[in-house]
Amino acid sequence: MTVHEWLFIGLFFALGWMLPTIPIVAGKLLGPKRPNKIKQQTYECGIETVGNTWVQFRAQYYVFALVFVVFDVELIFLFPWAMAYNKLGLFALFEMTVFILLLVVALVYTWRKGALEWE
């Protein structure tokens, strides 16, 4: 049974790939093809591009990504707990409270450090 379930997901994967690809290919075949130098320039409101596009970016994006990873891993641990919650005793609640509080401490620390301020 489980094999069939994932077979269906696989079919959906193929369809999800196909449905957008067909119109794009059709558009490519039906549309005109007259490329020229000006048309293919990078669009920058009519001004010529200066310098490299792949510039350095703010390190702050990186900090947010790190905080996200911490919470995302936490969430993975929360899902099995939530699923089995009805069958678990009161102790499970306290355990998870402690677990979440540990992460809240981390969040408060990041907050106090000013890592969440966008400058």
Binding site: H4, E5, L7, F8, I9, F12, F13, L15, G16, W17, L19, P20, T21, P23, I24, A26, G27, K28, L30, G31, P32, K33, P35, K39, Q40, Q41, T42, Y43, E44, T49, T53, W54, V55, F57, R58, Y61, F64, A65, F68, D72, L75, L78, F79, A82, M83, A84, Y85, N86, K87, L93, M96, T97, I100, L103, V104, L107, W111, L116, E117, W118
Partner: protein, 407 residues
Amino acid sequence: MIDFLKDIGFSHDLAVLVAKSLGVFVVGGFGLLWTLLGIWLERKLAGRFQDRLGPNRVGPVGLVQSIADTVKIIIKEDIVPEGADRWVFNIAPVLSVMAVILIWAVIPFGPGLVGVDLSVGVGYIVAVGSLGAIAVVMAGWSSNNKFALLGAFRSVAQLISYEVPMVLALLVPVLLAGSMRLQVIIEQQYIMYLLAIPMTVFIFLTSSQAELGRGPFDLLEAESEIVAGFHIEYSGMKFGMFYVGEFLHAFTVGVLTSVFFLGGWRFFGLEDLIVILGLPVIGFLALIFKSLLAYIFLIWVRMTLPRLRIDQLLNLNWKFLVPLSLINLLVVAFVWKLIPDTDEIDSFGDAFWPSVALLVANIAMFVGMSVVLRERGRRERARIEALRGPVDDPGMGTNAVPAGTGD
């Protein structure tokens, strides 16, 4: 269906494969047809919200507008800007549609009427749904355009940040139903979860709207700042696919809202008729009706609120939504543990008192939240008044408010 195929001479495995493929095509084809109609609906509504008519020339009340647009966009020239990373550039729009279509594989349209009822349904939705963020990053990075790259950076900060409260909100129905199967979550909603845990619905809708990148969270394509953001260099059908992907994602959020919080295919006892009359279409219509309600609500929010600044956006998430959703989860878990026999709810009567208890807890939480926010707002205002004199009109003062109001 499978039996019929077996009768005309297919082997069992092949029959299953053919039947499943047909199911896939029906669901996927329905999704795309629905897109044509839905885009019309959205433009019409957007028009009305902005005090204009919306599309009304092509066909009766503009119904054929989307088809005309499709024809137009398909015969447009497909331009790839110089210096673009061709492979990534071409895959990004496909991925943005695929991320949404994959979600539809697990949506239950009625009892037994579901593509595949995965035992890890909620996890699957979260995992597949976040593919869309990758598509945005790929598009922005590969375009060789500074505006597109800025849009992609913003999307990284925004889409991954709001993923956290969204998943925390989804944990609550999982906890109440005791399963990640969408069918079980729907069956457990003898009283729709919206009435028991409105705070969770609020968190889910807010963070989903941000995941969609729609107003007031449309920073990744803010026209006045970075022109069109990540899809600035896309033309023709590739742009069309981003558009379809965004629309379909928005509607899918409506569907998910109705599955998790509005009771899915349940409709005030009408679901009993599905079994009695053997008409699964009733469940389907109920689901679509509820999804449309949620979807129109999202459009309403989108058309009403002005765009946030990026610091406000991140503050709203990390300093308000994440703490709130953690507290929300713990409060719901605590109340749920106080109620005896929560794993044996199988009628309206069983569900009534637990729902009331949860609702009371939610109201208490809401009051607490209001008090905290008010206090913070007051302090923030005092700080600003100390800096730059009295602020007369709070509406006018918002321009001067730097980071940290939290709401």
